[in-house]
């Protein structure tokens, strides 16, 4: 989706705030929220769809306002509500509604609805070879995609074939498009191809892109 999360090349976000000796978690709630969402993963396995897409669907103004761990917490809350594992009243009070049966962990689905992120040992032919000129396709999927906007329509060179991975793109409900195992390539884009003459002629941006995102350059 063309969301505010797809930030590469945007202006106006301000200076980078580097903090010396930064703690891993700035507040106790950040660690608790992070641990909670990790611990709750079994409740959604094969059902909750793409976490990345859930994060991207936080409304833009909220996304920019929220600290990082609040985004993760928001995703967990949205999923629990949508799955009827908690009610808004329970969330507000922090106490279980005694009139509701205690949720039980559902058995894992017969096969994962979302293909994993692992490299796949599948004999799939690579459409592109090292050194080949390619172009990132000018596509604008409304679901989750890993094709950053700033690369679309731009020409680059294949510098590495990373092997076969399931496509992580989703539909508008965050559900997998079926995996579509394919090669993922590292593409070198000259900085000037992306940003024009303001960029150094020496510099480049390297992006790992699924084969579906590419066409012959």
């Amino acid at each position: 989706m063309n969301g505010v999360h797809d930030m590469g090349g945007m202006h106006g976000m301000g200076p980078i705030a580097h903090e010396a000796n930064e703690p891993v978690f700035h507040h106790e709630w950040e660690g608790r929220a992070w641990g909670l969402q990790r611990a709750m993963a079994p409740w959604g396995r094969g059902r909750w769809g793409s976490t990345r897409y859930e994060l991207e669907r936080i409304p833009p103004a909220e996304y920019l306002r929220m600290p990082y761990y609040e985004r993760w917490f928001t995703v967990l809350v949205n999923r629990l509500l949508r799955s009827d594992l908690v009610t808004p009243e329970e969330l507000a009070s922090g106490k279980a509604d005694p009139s509701r049966p205690k949720p039980t962990l559902p058995p894992p689905p017969p096969r994962p609805a979302t293909p994993g992120a692992a490299r796949l040992d599948l004999p799939i032919r690579a459409a592109f070879k090292l050194g080949q000129r390619v172009r990132a396709r000018n596509i604008h999927p409304e679901g989750h995609t890993r094709l950053p906007r700033y690369t679309r329509g731009r020409q680059g060179t294949v510098v590495r074939d990373n092997g076969v991975f399931a496509l992580q793109d989703t539909d508008v409900n965050g559900q997998s498009l079926g995996g579509k195992p394919q090669h993922v390539y590292t593409i070198r884009f000259a900085a000037r191809e992306l940003w024009g003459v303001r960029a150094s002629a020496r510099d480049a941006v390297y992006v790992d892109l699924w084969e579906d995102y590419l066409e012959r350059g």
């Binding site: 200076p15 809350v77 990373n162």
Partner: protein, 221 residues
Amino acid sequence: MVPGLPDSQQPPDHDHDHDHQAVPSDVALRVKALESLLVEQGMVDPAAIDATVDLYENRVGPRNGARVVARAWVDPAYRKRLLNEATGTAAIAELGYSGAQGEYMIVLENTPKVHNLVVCTLCSCYPWPTLGLPPAWYKSAPYRSRAVIDPRGVLEEFGLELANDVEVRVWDSTAEIRYLVLPERPAGTERMSEEELAALVTRDSMVGVAKVKAPQGAGPA
């Protein structure tokens, strides 16, 4: 800032303008309420949350990556395995660092002529087993938006000015590959042990926003 104290001894500053600004006062309460509810329902074990917090606060972090870098600096055969795309992940695992967000590691070598910088413009992907959870600036809109379009400006903001003849390579880790920068070993460290070298290596140098500095008195920087 506390006047007269070096940066390394400054207390954390939560007032400045970074990704944690404007935290609604109730988010801590909402997290607490959800945790109590899920514990009451038997859906989550608080000890599992404690364990996750402990893991990322105390056991996984940039000290791991620093050991990888120091080993590569002192052991040429290890360095070769580490920089080889086919064996880099295994070379890191040799030192005990593997798992989620470190399954497919590529190590990028910084040299006097090539400077590598890592970002994730779409999310905040980061190599957890070697660097731990990412710092706030790495996850922030300013870094994610600017690293690809103005890497030299970003580096200057971190205090690193690169000559025009240095090639800057920005790696936008939007897929499943995770990147670790192998910084240059500073001059004047020839006599240091692997352990002493590891102590010099910073998280920032392994993301590519800084160089490793020689210790004071170790010769020309």
